[in-house]
Every structure is written in C-alpha cells, then in structure tokens.
Symmetry: C2
Subunit: 211 residues, 2 copies
Amino acid sequence: MLDKGVPAPKPTRIQAAKRAQILKAALAVFSIAGYRAATLDRIAEEAGLSKASLLYYFAGKEAVYVAVLEDTLAFWLEPLAALDPDGDPLEEIGRYITTKLEMSKKRPAASRLFANEILAGAPAIGRFLEGPLKDLVDRQTAVISGWIDEGRLAPVDPRHLLMMIWAVTQHYADFDTQVQAVLGPGAARKRFSVARETVLSVLLEGLKPRG
Amino acid sequence: MLDKGVPAPKPTRIQAAKRAQILKAALAVFSIAGYRAATLDRIAEEAGLSKASLLYYFAGKEAVYVAVLEDTLAFWLEPLAALDPDGDPLEEIGRYITTKLEMSKKRPAASRLFANEILAGAPAIGRFLEGPLKDLVDRQTAVISGWIDEGRLAPVDPRHLLMMIWAVTQHYADFDTQVQAVLGPGAARKRFSVARETVLSVLLEGLKPRG
DNA sequence: GGAAAACTTGACTAAATGGTCAAATTACAC
DNA sequence: GTGTAATTTGACCATTTAGTCAAGTTTTCC
C-alpha cells in the first residue's frame, strides 16, 4: 500500500524473511499493547534485531502497523467469503460460527489487533471497512436474504445477524481475560468447547425457520 | 480506594465538583484513546483546567484512571443484578438485553473504557473481575440454572449465555465504527432499534424451552 | 579475492509527556 | 479588612521513544 518508492525494486530473500519476522513480532506486540503503547524497541527485541535495523525494513512505526493490519485482514475475513449459497443455511452458518471460534482460539492476536484498531476509531482501516468489507458483507447478506426468502431461515436482519456472530465469536479472543476470570480456573480450560456448544445451540435454534 | 493519606480529611465542595468534572473529562478521553494514548494535558483541557491543577486533585495519571473505572463499574453492572428469579425467564432476559443495548447507545464511553481495559489484560481491574464480578455472575447464573431446571428455558450453559449477551450488546458500543461502516450511512441511523429487534428475536427464540 | 551492494547498529537528536514546585491568586473564617 | 488555607498555574525536570546517521560488517556477484 505504501511500501516502496517509484519503480518497486525487487525484494531480496533476506528482505522477505526479515519483513515476515518483523511482522510476526509486530502482531504480537501491537495486539497486546495497541498502537500507542507498542514501542519499536519492543518489536525489534521480539524480532531479534535492533530498532535501527527494523527501520531499515519499514519506513516507520505506522508503516509497520499498516503492514500488519493488511497482512492479517484477508486471512481474518476468509471464512465469511466461504459461505456457500447452495449449502444448507443452518449448516453453513454453523460452520461459519465454528470456524470463527476456532480462529479466536488459535489466532487471538489477530482478533485483538482489529479490536484495538476499531476501538480507536479505525484510523488506519476506516476506508477498508467502508469499501471492501462493506462490499463483502453486502454480497454475503444477499445470500442470507435469499435463504430467508426461501423460508429456510428465520426472518432476521442479515447484517445484524453477521454482527451478532462476529461479536460472540471474537469476544472469546478479545475479552479472554474477562472470560477466564468469570469462568474460574476450573472451567477456563474448556471454555472454547463449551462456548461452541452454547453459541451454536442458541443461535442455530434461534435461526430455524419459524413454523 | 487509594485517595487520601491517613485520616481522610473532609473534601471541600470545590474538591467534589472539580473531581467530578475531571472524571467526566477523563472518561471521555480514556474511552477513546485507551490508557496509554490518553494524556493528562488532553484530560485537563477537556476538563477546563491546567495539568498542574488536575494533579492537585489526583495523585497521578493512574489514580485518575482507577477512579474513572471504579466510578463506572457499579453503574455498568447494575442491570445484571436486577434479574428477577420470580419473573418470566424470557421476559427477564429480554429486559436485560434491552437495557444493555440501551446503555451501549446512551453511554458508549463506559463500554469502551472497559473494552480497552480488558483488551490490555485488565491490569487495573483484574482483581475486580475475579472477585466481585465473578461472585455476581455466580449468583445470577444460579438463577438462570434454576429456570433451566424448571424447564422454562432451553438447557444452555448460563455463564456462556451471559457472555453471549455481553458480547452482542457491548459490540454496538465498542465497535460502533465498524457497525456504521458496514451498515452504510442509510441504515446506520436506525442501527440500535434494528439491533434490538434482531438480537431479541434470535436469542429469545433460541432460548425457548425445547419441546 | 575483491568491489559493490545489502545489511546492521551504537550513538545521537527532537518531541512528547508524566510529574514537581514555588510563586501567585482566590476563597473563606473571623 | 485581614490572615490563613485552598486553589491555580507557568516554568521546569526527567524519562520515554520515534526516527537519523555515519561507521562498520556481511553477503553477493564477478
């Protein structure tokens, strides 16, 4: 997005490797601390190089941040694009919920990174939200609306349905501290499997076409 | 909690007024920026006094932050404590959801303040989560479990049910930027009323006792 | 093996920011 | 009104941190 100068010189093997290394470290640090509290020194340490060296690969703190966001966005939205219009509605939505919960479990840093960014008012990805994200949501809500029109799903607002699913699934990544505190040390271990059962049970039952 | 020295001298009328004024400004600033990005200069400006003056009323940045959190916590949890064991389960839960959504609409700063704090790992209120909050949740999940045992509610894990409700309702405060971007300028105006309909419809239907 | 390019970093600068303090101003009790 | 306590703040200090740079080291390519 805002990488190289004009003619985009080919990146060396070392550049690719180091940039990936830095992005991994940056995700870890930004997702825990947020943009402002994260420091380049901390990211450099996590990536195993000096701050000056880090700044040889990225133009500045903001450039690192934007790169991490872009690097993670596509991955995070992938499952939504995978909704199959020809599949069974409840199965498709159930699979989407399961996948999103699995992602919250395995890649909580990605979810927290976005949570921090959106909470701060989405200064870096505001355009993305209004553009590509809205487009994807428009497309997939059309699929859901189709299912509703065919009477295979309860009639609810498809956009807000998606938001409910995002809210519930990402909650287990973003607010894990609270989840674990409230569940207590015993139940915290199984939190993701019980969450899956509960969420699937309530949402799928609530979405069944009404007699 | 960590206010005065030993004998707790009586606060003047001016002190009470100024502290309230500062807390209001601090909520606005902390909730948007998070702890680290918020500056005392910004809070002082918002409160209409100098930074030095602000520090006459509070021991330091952290003291202001803790005071704001404490000031907001009880208010935020109030509706949960109001669940009536003798009421109709679906009505009680529906009222809880409606109240929480209403709070997200009217006091989004409070929700965002907690979201930032929990995302950062709850450094300031970790003890509160494990203590008073967990106790309240334990008490109210017992109420819900009672309803389930009586067959008046679908059998779901009551703790995760509460988390679903928190997730969905607070989402509309914490992620409002995303919500508005995805809904588009037209639908954003009515977002809270459509959210209420959708959330109530899906969750209450999903919680009806199963035949 | 040598030169050029790519890479690395310690030392530095400038800006932001939490916090201190002494001096000035205001509020209040009598 | 006068004196004391409460309040206010400009000026200042110390620390943190993003970003620069020149001087070195390593890699690459012939």
